[in-house]
Symmetry: C2
């Protein structure tokens, strides 16, 4: 059985549609581009012809004829952890791809963790940009800066970290509370009824994504796993050295420590401390972001699971969404949905 074999071998063009509908090219153009001044009956005739011939505008020809070019700014953090480094690289690759699609990406590095600096950077962005992707902070000044850009007709998408109350057109990233809940479920199930304490290490609680993750984590842990009690959240500031010391102290102080959930960076410190303590196999450690380090810890068995967001997917998705928005094209939502990946040693990509 065959479906779709009735499709034309040769694409139907606007001219074919005009001929089929018995009207001129100009009228077809008016209809397909929704211009004014066409009789309803004629519109119907043309649309029937479009449907009959299965006409689809050749996007290559359309883009070429429109002759638009696009300039986007990606505002990313200055020299940072492995995830951000990888994101930057993926954005660079995406830029390379976009260059063939009449689009240009400039990467701006700023200290996105300081609301004033970030807001300032957004405010000073050249008005030549049609779109901006930014690792946002949910802070009044940043929100205002985003709203300001949007008011000036510049499309803004937030990347990795959202500013939900702003007027950004899209958030490209994972649902962080859900990611935290996922981590908690894995923790609870891996520990399967054992009693003890679980430590939560965040980069900083002033980062919305870290807060949301630990919120989701606590939510599930307290409601579903009463055998486990969470210790107060520790701020490791995404710094390996500091995190190592904090983890070592945790391990020394809590003989009943059964699990560690790290919702930020600084994983090398945790690995060092865990391995030095000799309890690496016994303590369940779950963290975020697949990097060359976390991958190694996973393979070695020190790390039990990684919750990941795909930086490449995020970079491409942000670019696609900005492009589609500026060109007035539709997007396919499920292609742009960023998944909460779970990686075990066995399903590493």
């Amino acid at each position: 059985m065959t479906v779709g074999a009735t499709q034309p071998v040769i694409r139907a063009t606007l001219e074919d549609v005009a001929r089929a509908a018995g009207v001129s090219l100009a009228t077809v153009d008016r209809v397909v581009n929704r211009r004014e001044g066409v009789h309803a009956k004629t519109v119907a005739r043309v649309e029937a012809a479009v449907a009959k011939l299965g006409y689809r505008a050749d996007v290559a020809a359309a883009r070429l004829a429109r002759g638009q070019t696009f300039r986007f700014a990606f505002v990313l953090p200055t020299g940072s952890n492995s995830f951000m480094t990888s994101l930057t690289e993926q954005v660079a690759r995406t830029a390379d791809w976009l260059a063939g699609q009449r689009g240009f990406i400039d990467i701006h590095h700023v200290d996105v963790f300081d609301p004033d600096v970030l807001a300032g950077a957004l405010e000073n962005l050249s008005p030549a940009y049609q779109g901006v992707a930014v690792i946002a902070l949910d802070h009044p000044r940043v929100r205002a800066a985003i709203d300001d850009l949007v008011a000036r007709g510049i499309a803004v998408v937030t990347l990795v970290s959202d500013a939900p109350s702003s007027s950004r057109v899209h958030y490209v990233g994972i649902d962080n509370p859900a990611a935290g809940r996922t981590a908690a479920t894995l923790m609870g199930r891996f520990l399967a009824g054992r009693e003890g304490t679980v430590a939560v290490i965040a980069g900083s609680l002033s980062l919305r994504d870290h807060t949301e993750r630990q919120f989701g984590f606590h939510q599930i842990l307290t409601s579903e796993y009463s055998n486990l009690s969470a210790l107060p959240v520790i701020e490791g500031r995404d710094d390996s050295d500091r995190t190592r010391k904090l983890t070592a102290a945790l391990l020394a102080r809590h003989a009943d420590l059964r699990g560690i959930y790290c919702c930020g960076a600084g994983n090398r410190g945790i690995a060092d401390a865990l391995e030095a303590s000799g309890r690496a196999r016994e303590v369940v450690w779950i963290t975020h972001e697949l990097t060359e380090y976390t991958r190694r810890f996973l393979v070695r068995g020190t790390l039990d699971a990684v919750i990941n967001q795909d930086a490449g997917h995020e970079a491409r998705s942000a670019a696609r969404i900005l492009l589609a928005h500026c060109a007035g094209e539709p997007i396919s939502p499920d292609q742009e949905r960023i998944r909460i990946d779970i990686f075990l040693r066995d399903n590493l990509p």
Copy 2:
């Protein structure tokens, strides 16, 4: 700090390159399209100009000028389980997208589980196709049919199920042994040391993907979780009714049944049997493919984890790979890698 702001606001065109290199348009054309008869020194001059101006061919213009159109055949199973239904729908959506990219997809439905029927369908495919995507079987006749297509200059990608020894240009799907290992690790860890037996239900052991999954599953279960012993594999033929009866029998016969791994379809039957037995919460059930049903069982807590391959991603990837192959364009490997997704109740998309 800003990187990349030196990019041109206006794209450089071939003419700009010609002017910069001090040669004619024809020569630049010869160089960028690698035609013969250009002096090495001139090639170098042009390439320097390309690099200096950051010239990138406008893919829209290039496609338009080449005027090529592409016809691909997708060979999918006849009326089948939820996953295949969803895959078919995603292929249809991809076809819609491709229609704007000068490409057409015909969907052919055949009984892909019969090697002779499948091979016959491939042999009878119109030579008008430049590419074929097929849910393959690893069988000599199918392999020969694929090799034959390739020999006739038709690009073949295998989808979901591979024929590794054939000359297909790409396999779009997951690593099935790794998926089985992933399931085993989840099973072993969720059961955390409890003793008992684990049942494995496959659709049919003559399907390579099911065999590979159960192979990976057994591999990890026997080597890492000696507390669990696997029962002989049961063939449910992807049929809910049959699977329900088999599962009910399993539950009745084995009081120490701790887990069920289903590497095929027929999940509704398993859910019915599990829920009827009253042991749904206690038995760990892991299966493949996220469908409306498995999603519901996951939310309800009957099902503990789903190993998934994203049908939308697979459909788009197959189309992109065929298109890139036929148009002689490069692909970006990590965008085309199909991940082994793990879904728990908490990270459902």
